[in-house]
């Protein structure tokens, strides 16, 4: 993937241009001065820390938000979209950061909703619609039943439908807000191939990602944002990761994965023969105090499901989980938490946070029993506990009662981590702990995990990012299609070996 970059095409005229765009939400200024220029026949990267305002910029382009100030030019003409329908009509397709599908409708209907091909009397031409969907899936190289409902699809499959939706629009401008966050290497490669072919057709593309390898592999130019403002635009050929990171963070970030040495202690978590029909089968492993164990695999391998089962969110058919030597009853999160197990789930917005509650209530949600005295809870106690963890993790928030939903993705993730560290666990499972998190925060999270391991915490780290797993883990487990297919000591865990175990294909991508 890190092979030669494509040659930068000659800059043509601008397809889309934003100048000093401003947007605030009540007291929160999300975008102070966003500027961006997209050229036809070019793939443009937009990078920046969490909360830098990237998604806000995207939503303004999409017509979801209206800018408070600044200029927005499309083909040189000033525009002001009042709804997403208008931006669509103007030829702009957007893949949002969070998949947005209709769970009760079929895959095909999801792709074409609102602009289905019609025949006589405005009647929807179902056959044409279905053919078109099949054609797009073929182009993306995926086998999705176009007639099934999207309810129950994995995040990856949902993301693929989002991509299909955007492609079907045949848009002149394609905006992708972290489309690869949930995709596996193979799928990322396919997406890139499609993106390149769209570029070659002369379309303008915007690609947002926190993964530098992807940015360098795919894009021609890059714009860096910081604190809601434009910082710099440069051809990727002329820059380095270190430069970009400096521009993003405003300081030097030297160590991306500062793994601290630690000595594993006794076994604290033992999983034996864990099986859940249709999801995972016969999973056995153990975890020692002070050890970070990486769990690698392609998206959809069933890693999250194993974590959920261990933690008690889901039940399982057979097998046992031992925590500190004694068996953990299945299906009860309460028991698991009380006995020192914590899980930072993969979907922070849906599973990790109560977005409409304040930061303080979120951080104390899992320790509400512990905080209470004679069965009664006091806000001052809650705030004290929350303040401690918020400041330790440097959460950026105006006040402790600020609605969590208004924080940026990275800060939200910090709140979730704080919530679970507050329970003072012995075993911490983190599922995609740095998904959609900027480099600065990411390195902080890694440092934090390292420190915690050093203090004797046992950590199981599920991650789809190989460099992260290899950089952090003392030991690497690999899952494929619901089974454990490999185990490597830190020294033996080469990217090739791990990917082989994850895909059973020699020389798989990444």
């Amino acid at each position: 993937m890190a092979d030669a970059m494509d040659a930068t095409p000659a800059p043509s005229d601008h397809a889309l241009e934003l100048r000093r765009v401003m947007k605030s939400f009540g007291p929160v200024v999300a975008l102070r001065s966003g500027s961006l220029v997209l050229d036809r026949g070019s793939i443009h990267a937009l990078i920046g820390e969490n909360g830098a305002g990237k998604s806000t910029l995207v939503k303004i382009i999409a017509g979801l938000y209206r800018r408070d100030d600044g200029d927005f030019l499309l083909d040189g003409e000033s525009v002001d979209f009042a709804s997403t329908a208008q931006s669509k009509a103007a030829g702009i397709a957007v893949i949002y950061q969070e998949p947005t599908l209709f769970p009760d409708l079929s895959v095909t209907e999801n792709i074409f909703m609102g602009r289905q091909p019609t025949g006589r009397l405005g009647r929807i031409d179902r056959a044409a619609m279905r053919d078109e969907a099949t054609r797009i899936f073929a182009r993306l190289g995926v086998a999705l039943d176009p007639d099934r409902v999207t309810e129950g699809l994995s995040i990856a499959d949902q993301q693929i439908i989002e991509i299909a939706k955007a492609i079907s629009l045949d848009a002149r401008v394609l905006i992708m807000d972290e489309p690869t966050a949930a995709l596996s290497g193979v799928e990322v490669e396919r997406l890139f191939a499609v993106a390149r072919s769209l570029r070659d057709e002369g379309r303008a593309l915007l690609f947002i990602s926190h993964r530098f390898d992807e940015v360098f592999a795919l894009c021609d130019t890059v714009t860096v944002m910081r604190d809601g403002a434009y910082v710099h635009t440069t051809p990727l050929a002329d820059t380095t990761v270190d430069d970009l990171v400096r521009q993003m963070v405003g300081r030097d970030v030297t160590e991306l994965f500062p793994k601290l040495p630690s000595t594993p202690g006794e076994v604290v978590l033992e999983v034996e023969g864990l099986t859940r029909k249709g999801v995972f089968r016969d999973v056995s492993f153990s975890l020692r105090a002070g050890e970070i164990v990486g769990l690698a695999g392609l998206v959809g391998a069933g890693r999250s499901e194993v974590a959920r089962a261990i933690f008690g969110v889901d039940s399982y058919e057979s097998g046992t989980v031992r925590l500190g030597g004694s068996v953990l009853p299945k299906g009860t999160v309460r028991q698991a938490t009380a006995r020192g197990l914590a899980l930072v789930p993969e979907d922070r917005r849906k599973q990790g946070l109560v977005l409409d509650e304040g930061v303080s209530r979120n951080i104390t949600l899992a320790i509400r029993q512990k905080l209470s005295r004679w069965g009664l809870l006091r806000s001052s106690d809650e705030n004290r506990a929350a303040r401690e963890w918020a400041s330790r993790l440097e959460v950026k928030t105006a006040a402790l009662d600020a609605t969590t939903g208004t924080l940026s993705g990275g800060n939200q993730q910090k709140v979730v981590i704080g919530k679970w560290l507050a329970t003072q666990p012995k075993v911490l499972i983190v599922d995609e702990p740095t998904r959609g998190i900027d480099v600065g925060t990411k390195s902080e999270v890694h440092r934090l995990l390292s420190e915690l391991a050093q203090q004797g915490l046992a950590i199981l780290m599920i991650s789809s990012e190989l460099p992260e797993v290899l950089g952090m883990a003392d030991r690497v487990l690999v899952m494929r299609e619901g089974r454990l297919t490999g185990e490597f000591a830190r020294t033996d865990a080469t990217p090739e070996a791990v990917m082989f175990a994850a895909t059973a294909e020699a020389g798989a991508a990444l």
Partner: protein, 344 residues
């Protein structure tokens, strides 16, 4: 990774149709309906085999059917309309008043008036729900009280008597064409139009999308507000039509006409497989649900069950229907799991 179901092998359209009918949610309640009619008829042949029996079988549920179709459309958008009973009452009284106060008014005008007034009342609901962004349950609970109050205040203790209505209008209430009651024909026409619309037009599909995930509908750039208002206007207009027909069928209209119909209509939709959480179900289901509800009402006395137990049976029926839905859904997901397991 993906549920790698390859495009299904070429099944013939006929086979598809058969399997669709066999598995459709609506088939279950059709079966229940048939069963009830058969049992009641065996107990007492006049239930079906007498001119009145046959007529009432078709006629009695026709009005509720109209209201239930409107209700289903609203529920599909993840809303609910509690005001339909009050709208029926208000438009039924309006119908009577029109005939009394403007003698010689053509029937078409009266029908038009009822439908338009119903539509306007529905529009008020829809506009409040869509623009004020407040839950339909609360808004329509409020307008249920308001519309009924207006009706009672207007009617006072007056009522419309059958003798106030022109004979040709009342004839609609009992009249038949080829042995099928006029009201039933009207209701079925409305049903077919609504079903076709929901299945085949973009705006119809958008109603499902909105109910399935309102936030996503907004992101898609669908005209969410317009569709929601449209659904409420439809529900109101159908309730208005039902109000006009109520006057034709029952002749006497007091200020409590249509009282409690909202729960019956919701019940019919739910029995018919329209999910209360939106995005799922058909107006066919709601229509059959309405028939099932009211046919059971008529069958119970024949089966020797005391009048007083009717409501209990209706309740049990609603619960049975939703439990059945749930069981089917669980079985479906088990099947998917099994498929995945064997796929590995």
């Amino acid at each position: 990774m993906s549920i790698a179901t390859p495009v299904r092998p070429g099944t013939s359209p006929a086979a598809k149709l058969v399997s669709h009918v066999a598995t459709a949610r609506e088939s279950g309640i059709v079966l229940a309906l048939v069963l009830i009619v058969v049992v009641a008829t065996v107990n007492n042949p006049t239930f079906l085999f007498s001119p009145d029996g046959f007529r009432d079988l078709l006629l009695t549920p026709s009005l509720l059917l109209l209201v239930a179709v409107g209700q289903a459309i609203v529920i599909i958008t993840r809303n609910v309309d509690l005001s339909v009973g009050s709208v029926v009452g208000l438009t039924a009284y309006l119908t009577g008043r029109l005939f009394i106060d403007v003698p010689g008014l053509p029937l078409v005008v009266v029908f038009f008036a009822g439908i338009v007034v119903g539509g306007i009342l529905g529009f008020v609901n829809g506009a409040l729900v869509a623009y004020a962004k407040v839950p339909a349950l609360v808004i329509t609970l409020g307008t249920m009280y308001i519309y009924r109050g207006i009706n009672v205040a207007w009617a006072g203790s007056n009522r419309v008597n059958a003798s106030d209505l022109p004979a040709d209008f009342r004839g609609l209430g009992t009249g038949q064409i080829l042995g099928i009651p006029v009201l039933t024909i009207l209701a079925v026409v409305v049903l077919i139009v609504a079903a076709w619309y929901l299945r085949n037009l973009r705006s119809g599909r958008e109603l499902y999308a909105i109910g399935s995930d309102p936030a996503a509908a907004h992101l898609y750039g669908l005209k969410v507000n317009r569709r929601i208002i449209g659904a409420f206007v439809t529900s109101g207009a159908l309730a208005g039509l039902a109000g006009v027909l109520y006057a034709a069928r029952y002749g006497t209209v007091a200020s409590n006409a249509g009282f409690g119909w909202e729960l019956q209509a919701i019940g019919a939709a739910v029995i018919g497989g329209v999910a209360i959480s939106g995005g799922v179900g058909t107006v066919w289901g709601a229509a059959i649900g309405a028939y099932l509800l009211l046919t059971i009402n008529r069958a119970l006395p024949i089966l020797g069950i005391d009048d007083f137990w009717q409501r209990a049976v209706v309740g049990a029926l609603i619960l049975g229907a939703i439990v059945l839905d749930r069981v089917l859904a669980v079985r479906q997901s088990r099947k998917l799991t099994a498929e995945r397991e064997t796929g590995r």
